[in-house]
Symmetry: C2
Subunit: 741 residues, 2 copies
Amino acid sequence: MNPEILFWIVPVASIIALAFAAAFFFNMKKADEGTDRMKEIAGYVREGAMAYLKQQYKVVALFFIIIAVIFAVMAYFNMQNDIVPVAFLTGGFFSGLAGFIGMKTATYASGRVAQACRDEKDGLNKGLQLAFRSGAVLGLTVVGFGLLDISAWFLILDNTSLVEAEGVSKLVQITTIMLTFGMGASLQALFARVGGGIYTKAADVGADLVGKTEYHFNEDDPRNPATIADNVGDNVGDVAGMGADLYESYAGSILASAALGAAAAAAAGSSYDDALRAVMAPMIIGAVGAILSVIGIYIVRTKPGANQTELMAALNRGINFSGILIAIFSALILWALGINNWLGLWGSIVIGLIVGIAIGKVTEYYTSFEFKPVKFIAENATTGPATVIISGIGVGMISTCWPVIFIVVGTIGAYLCAAGEFAFTAANMNQGLYGIGIAAVGMLSTLGITLATDAYGPISDNAGGNAEMSGLGEDVRSRTDALDALGNTTAATGKGFAIGSAALTALALLASYIEELKIAALKLGENFQVVGDITSAQLAKMNIAEFMASFDVTLMNPKVLLGIFIGAMLSFLFCGLTMNAVGRAAKSMVEEVRRQLSDKDVLEGRKKADYARCVGISTQGAQREMVVPSMIAVLVPIATGLVLGVPGVFGLLAGGLAGGFVLAVFMANSGGAWDNAKKYIETGDAPFCGKHTPIHDASVVGDTVGDPFKDTSGPSLNILIKLMSMVSIVTAGLNIAVTLL
Amino acid sequence: MNPEILFWIVPVASIIALAFAAAFFFNMKKADEGTDRMKEIAGYVREGAMAYLKQQYKVVALFFIIIAVIFAVMAYFNMQNDIVPVAFLTGGFFSGLAGFIGMKTATYASGRVAQACRDEKDGLNKGLQLAFRSGAVLGLTVVGFGLLDISAWFLILDNTSLVEAEGVSKLVQITTIMLTFGMGASLQALFARVGGGIYTKAADVGADLVGKTEYHFNEDDPRNPATIADNVGDNVGDVAGMGADLYESYAGSILASAALGAAAAAAAGSSYDDALRAVMAPMIIGAVGAILSVIGIYIVRTKPGANQTELMAALNRGINFSGILIAIFSALILWALGINNWLGLWGSIVIGLIVGIAIGKVTEYYTSFEFKPVKFIAENATTGPATVIISGIGVGMISTCWPVIFIVVGTIGAYLCAAGEFAFTAANMNQGLYGIGIAAVGMLSTLGITLATDAYGPISDNAGGNAEMSGLGEDVRSRTDALDALGNTTAATGKGFAIGSAALTALALLASYIEELKIAALKLGENFQVVGDITSAQLAKMNIAEFMASFDVTLMNPKVLLGIFIGAMLSFLFCGLTMNAVGRAAKSMVEEVRRQLSDKDVLEGRKKADYARCVGISTQGAQREMVVPSMIAVLVPIATGLVLGVPGVFGLLAGGLAGGFVLAVFMANSGGAWDNAKKYIETGDAPFCGKHTPIHDASVVGDTVGDPFKDTSGPSLNILIKLMSMVSIVTAGLNIAVTLL
């Protein structure tokens, strides 16, 4: 079929996704807000969240302006395309907008979900649907804006004279320019994850350390001054942060695949139509996945009085439906598109889907108390907090094994399927790397619904908070608890999925970096001599392996090796800085909470706690602390490029990607396992059980340590590994200039 | 000067070092053993240590026999030299023997040091000298046996017809064969570090968790049943383990440099004499360093009633003396040897020395309570154990930054100095990599005295234990405490030094791997076609860069990238397994100690605790738990070679080296910082002070978590990064066969 006709699925899907997001939002707004007290609580959380987001966007805007100016200067010196500064800004804008809408929805929804749960007959089903469809607003906004930005830019660049080249090389140029809008999304995501992560865990750690450990309050006790900040944090970190993270992976994987597809076609000397098919394929798969996600969302419902298993089954039904259908539809799309080796590429997509599920399952194994690892940690609570920490770190470190094997096997499989032969050769490298990108697109194609399950978690959690603080009955709380427990399982799987997709996306971005290098090299001068006597005409025809050989990016080049060292170190440094940031912000919070609770009137509930002050501490802490790690993430790739050139940057990206991925899995799984080890002890199923015993206290220490592990440092690494590639992509011109001139 | 005459310095230095080691040992044996009770306590520790070492050697012997048989089979199929199985065994034997002698000395010495400290007038000086010279037995045995093994093998291979080649290529073959005896040292070191690390921390954690936390005993309280096991552990882990680790680095760096020197000479088409000079240089520098160490050891003495600063100054005087002299002498050696670019190579040596000192200083900054990081962790103890852990992990992660920068800058500097020009080119790569090896030799040249300061620590610690358990007076205990405190500072610096030298040695080994590949390729067939139409005659003339190009070890080769992922993951997996091993062994220990102390007679000191049972638990735990991590370390490089070939192995080594180094620094420094944060709180200088307060208890949790960090998992990574290179070196023939046939 004509690829240009099929392309229109992309903007149409974008509009469908956004329309349903709007519909879900307005439907939710119509729901009953509940009692005055419930409205008041919801209002506090909403205000706090919006106040924080405003502050965050201020800092982000400053960064965006500075970087856009730098791009403009680079463009002026012909080291970057003129359109890049604008593309960069739109990427950041849409990512920010998606996060804003998602969070606004979540803060409107949670009180209403609590109110829906008050319905004695059908409360659970109503609550589930309201929470899930509110979460779907984030999912659909992310994919909708992602597809909108992609299709709009493609139409503009394809139909105007902004790009001067013709035929296949025009496609190569368009797709490489579009990649840079991923940089905007990346930077936005960085601040959202780091800032949001610091915010949420400063509040959580502060609330727990004093409230739970010192005063033995329950979760969300209204006397705890940090409790509103804690609820705000869920929205700021788990809704806005997660959304921005996956927006970046989603857009990044589609854009990287498109660029790799165009490059592969150019290297193979394919026709314009074949090249266009390769560029369209990832976009169309994303678009169809978005539509299937909408259908999947409608399938999620459960009967009145459903239990935990039935609730989980309802969610899974929606996800499985979308996943199975996209596996089938993508075969149809590739076949209808008439793309070369469609069956092989379909294999890559299916591999991407399977790797996503497999990493999710391993994450569940290591973080759910149904299985041995978490039980092992819980047993270690009998010998005190130290052994809880030791065993949790041990389990988390061991848990890195399978995800790495899945990524490795999946990458090999996706490469070989797309290459269409059972060998890694220089000739099939372009096509093989395209397969890796396509696998990432496959994994993320149903993001609309998987992200809905992620955002569902904090909404239910906040609904529970609202119910507790508003003093609603035990039965209501038990319904919100059931919804919340479900959210914890989906959150763990969602985190595994976010890391896995970040790794595949980063691999695709790493491959795209070479394309940017080639374009940059060509741009630097028509008769530019790359190595020895290679002219730009020869350069244009080179495949990846040949081009790379001219840079000596072998592992024996000390610059490469040292780049790998720096990359691995950077992940640790970044985590260390964010861990300490949480520590410092939490310390201020602890002191404030202790100060307020030293007032007997506050402690005994006669005087209202000063929630705003705690919200302010988290906001300021996050804002202050997010700058240094973020600047390091942006500046180190640039500095490495200036000092060590292209080989150093490659080493940095490879070391950062491998080291960052492993560290991220470790931190996320240790954190998740500690969390559930504590919950396991609380269930009372263990031979050692019950709240407020020394064993439980030991497990609370693990949980508190795990908070920044799983919600700040770990997820921030997802962004780091993608952002470093993105920064290198947009500074490829600089790298080339330093290395070759 | 004729290199063949200068070479004789090596065996002579070896004999001098061993002779002084023997003299120090017999002098120590003559010292007074003290009271019967002191003899009894020392006897328990000695018996426990020897019993453990016997068990460890049994397991190790089994592994050695299996691997020697595999080598013999490989040699039979021409994939390995016939001499390798024997060379492998001697490397392991001498490493084991050095550890045995060092530990035997330490266990004889500690009681005598306690007795020396009873001298009211000159106790401190006597104690210091006795402890330090006993530690020197380990230092001198390690360098003595290392030099003996190296010089003996070189003489045998050079003067017999075991190696058939002639001229420069004979040197290339000899040095590559000799490298494989490093594999024996590596394997021995692995078991010593992993087994010893598990032993010592199971005992320590067990002793602390029940004795200190639950019963508020002091350190080394004789009622604590695990206290003897704890003292045994210091010897097993910090004496035998540390010794084997550094034996491996010492021998590995000399052997790798010799191999790289021969290769560089071969590639440059140098004369036989020039090649011989390049091979001799690292050996002679090591030999002169050994002699200077002996002199340095004699300088360490202090006046009666010296304070802490004076004691430290005494130790530093010895170390600085040897360090400065080796810097001067190595210039003389290189000049006298008439080696090409002697000034540049001298620069590499000086860089190695400086990097070693710099990493030690950074380690001190991050782990001593004189500075901000540890104080920051201590402050976090006011908000409980969770914030102690969070801040300690944060500090440890941040602390990886400088060591990586030092290694990176040092490596670049050593390369460029040796290359003699300010550029990394394919032509100067051989010479540059030789410079990296020579820098590692420089760093380790005065190992005789630096290792003495390491072994001094556990001897003083045990002396304190003996004094406490024998009920000696407060004044004696205060003297042993002064010696012990000094040991803690030297231990932290020593750990930084061990990691830094491991990284440089591993880099040199990685470079040597290529030489082994070349030899293996040549061996596989006289007309073996490497890539396209390269014959073995052409192959022999290739430089490293050309040879590497034929394997496509570029970063865009997916096999390389995936190897990097596996390497990074392996470090985490290895740490996770050792952490959990400590956790499990400690848990058995805790249960046993609790069981014994539930007997009121034991608790109140009327009935003697059953020390032997705790010693047995640690021994069995270590023996059982060390097998799986060790097998993984050996098997993964082999499996990667079989599946992903040479590119995969390169990726694995680079990823493992970078990831492992950073992880090792993080774990060692977090652990050290927690330890000293606790000590800082105990000093009472802090605004929050004193033992057995909630703040102190929180810091004890950090210290306990830090134990396996700094003494088991962290140091074991030193071995992992070297061993993986070693395994790849000895299986190079297999890798070549898989990749090219």
